[in-house]
């Protein structure tokens, strides 16, 4: 282990990266912040923060509306950001990129446009046992509206999907496979290609929730050949309140609009309105313009990194964190899939996650405690909640050591 850590430290200049993130030098409760809640939201590099300041200082105007100079500048910047997103996930065209408020809205959009119009009674939507509530509840709502039913691919004790069961569940009634690419609660990287193959055989559409994937590895929507791919800006070092719905051009052209309002129309009379083309027909009203532009800045930041190095470094953090945690008596890691992003969910025998999370916070360490918006996952593992340390490339091995020492103190205090 020591040699892997030393090697990772040599290759990857984490201190130079940390200097790009102003918040990482904050003190919390008199201690240097250790930020291990990246699965909930990531921190932002200075270039992203600056792009928001720059937008309001120099560009602010409404987009797609005016002929005046600033409106042109703002529109150009927003559309450049859309193109950056499209390149980032290797979409065919930027018209396949719809800006939303976040992953949650993107899923709701698909459920309420495609789902509500194309699902019939008895149709089946297939999810996995590890979904976030955001990929459960929108489908339950559309099931109530249409009479469609949910089917769930189970997982095993390691937090890996049981593919033989998926074979049985995905069938001729399946209209939609909506699954997470990476689990927020467990860290599992799902074998999406294998499950998607089953869905394609029966002609079902596929939506992948990539909120926990894009912060960690390169995603290519054309190689995946999914119909929809959704993710959030705020988990990938961009601002909050922006998310992306990628949809294949043909499907976006077919499905009806989501909300009505300005920007999504071509012509409006009181008798009849004709709609704009995708992606604009899904973007009613003035969007989060600065957020979209700043997401573009986050993508620039990520593009400038060496992805192989990042992946390798994050893997070293995952392995170091897992090994050092398992050295503590009573620690149980929830989610031990072979393929994981650097997310470690764990419980400690006899201790409530709330108490542990609180004592860690007192020592400057930000972890997430609770059910991680995935109550079915907690029920499966029979825990009320877990403590989750989720790492980003700016975290360090020393920070993991600080967390381990803090857990020892928590154990001593809580006995």
């Amino acid at each position: 282990m020591e040699t892997i850590v030393e090697k990772a430290k040599q290759i990857f200049d984490v201190h130079a990266i940390r200097a790009d993130f102003p918040i990482l030098s904050t003190m919390v409760n008199g201690k240097p912040l250790v930020y291990f809640d990246n699965g909930a939201t990531s921190q932002k590099p200075k270039s992203v923060i600056d792009s928001i300041i720059n937008y309001y200082s120099n560009t602010n105007s409404n987009i797609h509306r005016g002929v005046h100079h600033l409106s042109q500048l703002a529109t150009d910047a927003y559309e450049v950001a859309r193109t950056k997103v499209s390149h980032f996930i290797h979409a065919k065209s930027s018209s396949e990129i719809v800006f939303t408020k976040g992953t949650t809205e993107a899923i709701n959009l698909v459920a309420q446009t495609w789902g509500r119009n194309y699902l019939k009674s008895g149709d089946e939507i297939v999810l996995t046992a590890m979904e976030h509530h955001a990929n459960i509840v929108p489908w339950q709502m559309v099931c109530e509206q249409t009479g469609a039913v949910l089917k769930v691919i189970p997982m095993d004790e390691n937090g890996e999907l049981i593919l033989e069961e998926a074979e049985k569940i995905i069938g001729l009634r399946t209209r939609m496979l909506a699954m997470m690419h990476v689990s927020n609660a467990l860290g599992t990287i799902n074998p999406v290609e294998k499950v998607m193959e089953m869905a394609k055989k029966v002609g079902a559409l596929i939506l992948l929730d990539g909120a926990q994937a894009v912060p960690h590895f390169k995603v290519d929507v054309q190689a995946l050949d999914c119909d929809f791919y959704v993710f959030s800006s705020h988990k990938m070092f961009g601002p909050s309140g922006v998310g992306i719905l990628y949809g294949k051009e043909k499907i976006l052209a077919e499905i009806p609009p989501y909300q009505g309002g300005g920007d999504m129309i071509k012509t409006v009379t009181f008798e009849k309105t004709t709609y704009n083309e995708a992606p604009f027909k899904f973007e009613a009203g003035t969007p989060n313009i600065e957020g979209g532009i700043a997401l573009g800045a986050a993508i620039d930041y990520l593009n400038a990194m060496n992805h192989a190095e990042v992946l390798n470094y994050e893997n070293s953090l995952l392995h170091y964190g897992t090994d050092t945690l398992l050295n503590i008596d009573g620690v149980r890691i929830i989610g031990q899939a072979a393929q994981k992003v650097p997310v470690i969910s764990f419980s400690i025998d006899g201790l409530h996650p709330y108490d542990v999370g609180f004592i860690l916070d007192k020592q400057g360490i930000a972890v997430r405690t609770g059910h991680h918006c995935a109550q079915p996952v907690m029920d499966f593992f029979k825990v009320p909640g877990t403590i989750r340390a989720s790492f980003a490339f700016y975290n360090t091995f020393e920070e993991i050591d600080i967390m381990i020492a803090a857990i020892h103190l928590a154990k001593k205090m809580l006995k």
């Binding site: 409760n29 201790l351 409530h352 996650p353 709330y354 108490d355 609180f358 004592i359 007192k362 405690t369 609770g370 059910h371 009320p384 909640g385 103190l409 205090m413 809580l414």
Partner: protein, 137 residues
Amino acid sequence: MSILAKEAEIVEEFEMFEDWTEKYEYLIDLGRALPLIKEELKTDEYLIKGCQSQVWLDAELKNGKVFYKADSDAQIPKGIVSLLVRVMSDEPPEEIVKTELTFIDQIGLKEHLSPTRSNGLVSMVKQMKLYALAFQS
């Protein structure tokens, strides 16, 4: 002893501690020491559900005074539960209804009563007053 006097007593107890670990260890011990509520009463009827940790609360009126029993599944909230029970129990309903507790703030535990902690404690204080209100009428 009045609610105010009990609050003052707790504030004095907590003044002894120099750092947060001592304070919290004391709080955790307080939670442990009290037999708070019978296991069979830990049902949904008595549950105040927090997003992360939970609190159970029951109350009865004896000789014109309210007596509370409570528990929590997490140790730090349980310590605070024990303090709340100590302050509010054995008091007439009209006193409980009108009281504005200040001791939690004074002993530096206010953050646990913030709605974002989602530990059920904010709702617990409300529920204690609702019981008192019901006994009053």
